[in-house]
C-alpha cells in the first residue's frame, strides 16, 4: 500500500469503520447508562432560582472558589487543553469541512497560524498535565492503564496533525493519513474508555444539578 492508498483508505474505509464503531458505541453506551433510570424524588422540593440541572452543566465549567489555588496544574492545564482541543477540533477550516460533510453544519474558521499556535499550546498543556499525573501522588494512585492509554489517544491526533501541517518527520501525505488514523482510533475507543466523559459529563452535571437543585442548592 503506498501513501496515497493509505490516505484514501483512512479517508474512506477506515473512516467508515471508525465512525460506525463510534456511532454504534455511543448509542449503545448512552442507552446502557441512562436506561438505568432514577426514582422520582418524593421529598418536597425547595425552589431556589438558579438551582437546576441545566445551570449546573454550565456552572461546573467554572472552577469553585479556592480550588485553582489548590491544584493549579489540573485546572490551568486541564482548561487549556480542553479549550485548545475544542478550538483545534471545531475551528480549523478542514475540520469544519469534515463536520459539514458529515452533518451539514458549518461555521467560520480561524486563521491556521492561530490554530497552529493553539495546537502547540494544547500539546504543551497536555504534557504538563501528564507530568502532573506522574508526579502527584493522588493522580498517580488513581491512574490505571486506561488513563495513560487515553492520554496517548488524545495526544496523537494533535501531534500528527501538527507534524503534518509543519511538514515534519514524514511526508505530508503519510502524516495526514496517520493523523486521520489517530483520530479514527480516538473515535473507536472513545465510547469504551473514560473518554466517554465527553458525553456523560453533561448527564452527570445535569443529575448533580437536578438532585441538588431539588434541595435548593445551586451546585
Amino acid at each position: 500500500m503506498n501513501d496515497m492508498q493509505f490516505l484514501t483508505w483512512v479517508r474512506g474505509t477506515g473512516l467508515d469503520i471508525a465512525v460506525s464503531i463510534f456511532v454504534l458505541g455511543v448509542l449503545w453506551r448512552l442507552f446502557e447508562i441512562y436506561s438505568l433510570g432514577r426514582k422520582a424524588d418524593l421529598a418536597a422540593p425547595r425552589d431556589t432560582p438558579g438551582a437546576s440541572g441545566w445551570h449546573t452543566i454550565f456552572r461546573r465549567s467554572i472552577p469553585p472558589q479556592g480550588m485553582v489555588k489548590k491544584s493549579p496544574v489540573s485546572y490551568i492545564g486541564g482548561y487549556t487543553f480542553h479549550i485548545g482541543l475544542a478550538i483545534v477540533v471545531f475551528l480549523f477550516a478542514p475540520h469544519i469541512l469534515l463536520i459539514k460533510n458529515l452533518t451539514g453544519l458549518s461555521w467560520p474558521a480561524l486563521p491556521s497560524q492561530f490554530i497552529d499556535l493553539v495546537t502547540v499550546v494544547t500539546m504543551a498543556a497536555m504534557v504538563v498535565v501528564l507530568a502532573d499525573r506522574i508526579n502527584k501522588p493522588v493522580k498517580r494512585y488513581l491512574s490505571t492503564f486506561g488513563d495513560w492509554f487515553t492520554w496517548t489517544l488524545t495526544f496523537l491526533p494533535l501531534l500528527t496533525g501538527w507534524l503534518a501541517v509543519q511538514h515534519l518527520l514524514l511526508p505530508y501525505t503519510v502524516m495526514l493519513a496517520l493523523h486521520i488514523l489517530s483520530v479514527e482510533l480516538l473515535l473507536i475507543f472513545l465510547p469504551f474508555t473514560k473518554l466517554f466523559h465527553a458525553f456523560t459529563v453533561f448527564g452527570s452535571r445535569w443529575y448533580l444539578g437536578k438532585i441538588n437543585g431539588h434541595k435548593g442548592v445551586a451546585v
Binding site: L27, F31, H95, P111
Partner: protein, 363 residues
C-alpha cells in the same frame, strides 16, 4: 567559463551572459540555492560536447499521447531545440516520419547502434492481462517491447503518471491489469516523471540534466527528481496565505473564487501533491490549474484517480460513509437490548429484596 559545450552554444549565438541567466533560472526552478546556478553553469560549460547527440527512444504504451503533446509545449529548452541540438530522438511514434516496419526498423537500428547508452522514455502503462493483448504494437505486447528495449537502455524515464505509477488504466478496477514500468523492470535505473501530463519543463529539465551530467538527478522515495517533486503544491502555492487566514472559495464562482482564495474546500489536492506547478507554472508561465481556479487533481501522485473524488476536500470522507446508519441502528438496538437486560436485572434485584433487619447488620 570555458568548455566545448559553451563553445558550441557560442557558435549557436548563445552568449555567456545568456547561458548564466539560463542556469540561474534553471537553478531557481529546480529549487536549488542561487549559488548552484553558477556552479551548474560551470559544470555544464565544462562538460565535454558529445561527438554524437545521445539517442533517445520513446515507446508509447497504454497512453493518451498527452505526455508527448506536453513535451511539445516545452519552452526552454524547446522541443525543436532538443531534437536539433541536444538529443537524437530515434523513435517517437507521434512525431516520426516513418511508419510501420520502417518505424520498427528505425527502432531496432537505434537500439543496436546505441546499445547500453540510449535513454529509454516510456509513456503509458503496461497491461499484463490477456498476455498483454490489451495493448499491442506491431503485434507485440507492450510487456515484450518494454523488456526488449530496456535491455540496452542506460536508464529509463517513466514519463507521466501511467508509466510511473500505472495511471488511469490502473484506476479501479484496473480492467486490463495495467502496471508501471518499475513494476516490471528492476535492473535499470528508472526515473519517474509523473504528472498527467508532466510539466514540459520538468521533462526537458530532467532530460537536460541526464544529458549534461550523464547521471540521474537526485530522486525521492517514489523515484521522482527531488528538484521538481520535493515540495507540495500547497507549500509553494500563491494562495497559501489565504489557507492560513482561513479564507476559502466555497464554489467555483463566489467572491472567494474571484479573489483567488484557497481551493481546499473545493477538493484541491495540493497539500498531498508533490509537483512544481506552483513555481514553474504551465505553458510558458502563463498559468496553472490553481491559478485558473480549479483545485489540484493530484496528478503526480500514485493512484490519484482513486483518491476519493476530485471535489472532496482532503478532510472529507473519501467515500460516503455507508455503515454509519446501520451502525446507528445496531448501536441503538444493542443499547435497547442492554437496557432491557439491565432493567430486568435491576427489577429482579428489587423483587428479591429482603428487608434488612438489625440482625443483618451483623455479618
Amino acid at each position: 567559463m570555458q568548455g566545448p559545450l559553451i563553445d558550441t552554444l557560442a557558435r549557436q549565438g548563445v552568449t555567456r551572459r545568456t547561458f548564466m541567466k539560463y542556469c540561474a533560472t534553471l537553478a531557481s526552478m529546480m529549487a536549488l540555492p542561487p549559488a548552484a546556478g553558477r556552479a551548474m553553469a560551470e559544470a555544464m560549460a565544462a562538460a565535454p560536447a558529445a561527438a554524437r547527440r545521445p539517442s533517445v527512444i520513446w515507446l508509447p504504451f497504454q497512453e493518451c499521447t498527452g505526455c508527448t503533446e506536453s513535451i511539445t509545449r516545452s519552452h526552454s529548452p524547446s522541443i525543436e531545440g532538443l531534437i536539433f541540438d541536444a538529443i537524437s530522438l530515434d523513435y517517437q511514434e507521434t512525431l516520426m516520419a516513418a511508419a510501420g516496419h520502417q518505424a520498427e526498423e528505425a527502432l531496432h537500428t537505434a537500439m543496436r547502434e546505441n546499445a547500453g547508452k540510449y535513454l529509454l522514455v516510456i509513456d503509458g502503462s503496461i497491461p499484463l492481462g490477456l498476455d498483454g493483448a490489451y495493448s499491442c504494437i506491431a503485434g507485440k505486447s507492450n510487456l515484450e517491447a518494454l523488456k526488449e528495449a530496456a535491455q540496452g537502455a542506460a536508464a529509463i524515464v517513466a514519463m507521466g503518471s501511467c508509466a510511473a505509477f500505472g495511471g488511469i488504466p490502473k484506476a479501479n478496477p484496473n480492467p486490463t491489469g495495467a502496471v508501471s514500468v518499475s513494476d516490471i523492470i528492476k535492473d535499470k535505473p528508472i526515473i519517474n516523471i509523473p504528472g498527467c501530463p508532466p510539466i514540459p519543463v520538468v521533462m526537458t529539465g530532467v532530460l537536460a540534466h541526464f544529458l549534461t551530467f550523464g547521471s540521474l538527478p537526485e530522486l525521492d522515495s517514489k523515484g521522482r527528481p527531488k528538484a521538481f517533486y520535493g515540495e507540495t503544491i500547497h507549500d509553494r502555492c500563491y494562495r497559501r496565505p489565504f489557507y492560513d487566514q482561513g479564507k476559502f472559495a466555497h464554489t467555483f464562482d463566489d467572491e472567494g473564487a474571484r479573489n483567488g482564495w484557497c481551493l481546499f474546500e473545493l477538493g484541491c489536492k495540493g497539500p498531498v501533491t508533490h509537483n512544481a506547478c506552483a513555481t514553474v507554472k504551465w505553458n510558458g508561465g502563463t498559468s496553472w490549474p490553481v491559478e485558473s481556479g480549479h483545485g489540484c487533481l493530484g496528478c503526480s501522485e500514485p493512484d490519484f484517480w482513486d483518491g476519493g473524488g476530485f471535489y472532496k476536500a482532503l478532510s472529507m470522507p473519501a467515500d460516503p460513509l455507508k455503515m454509519g446508519a446501520a451502525a446507528a441502528v445496531v448501536g441503538a438496538a444493542a443499547g435497547v437490548a442492554l437496557s432491557f437486560a439491565n432493567r430486568g436485572k435491576k427489577s429482579a434485584a428489587k423483587s428479591a429484596h429482603e428487608t434488612t433487619t438489625l440482625a443483618d447488620l451483623e455479618k
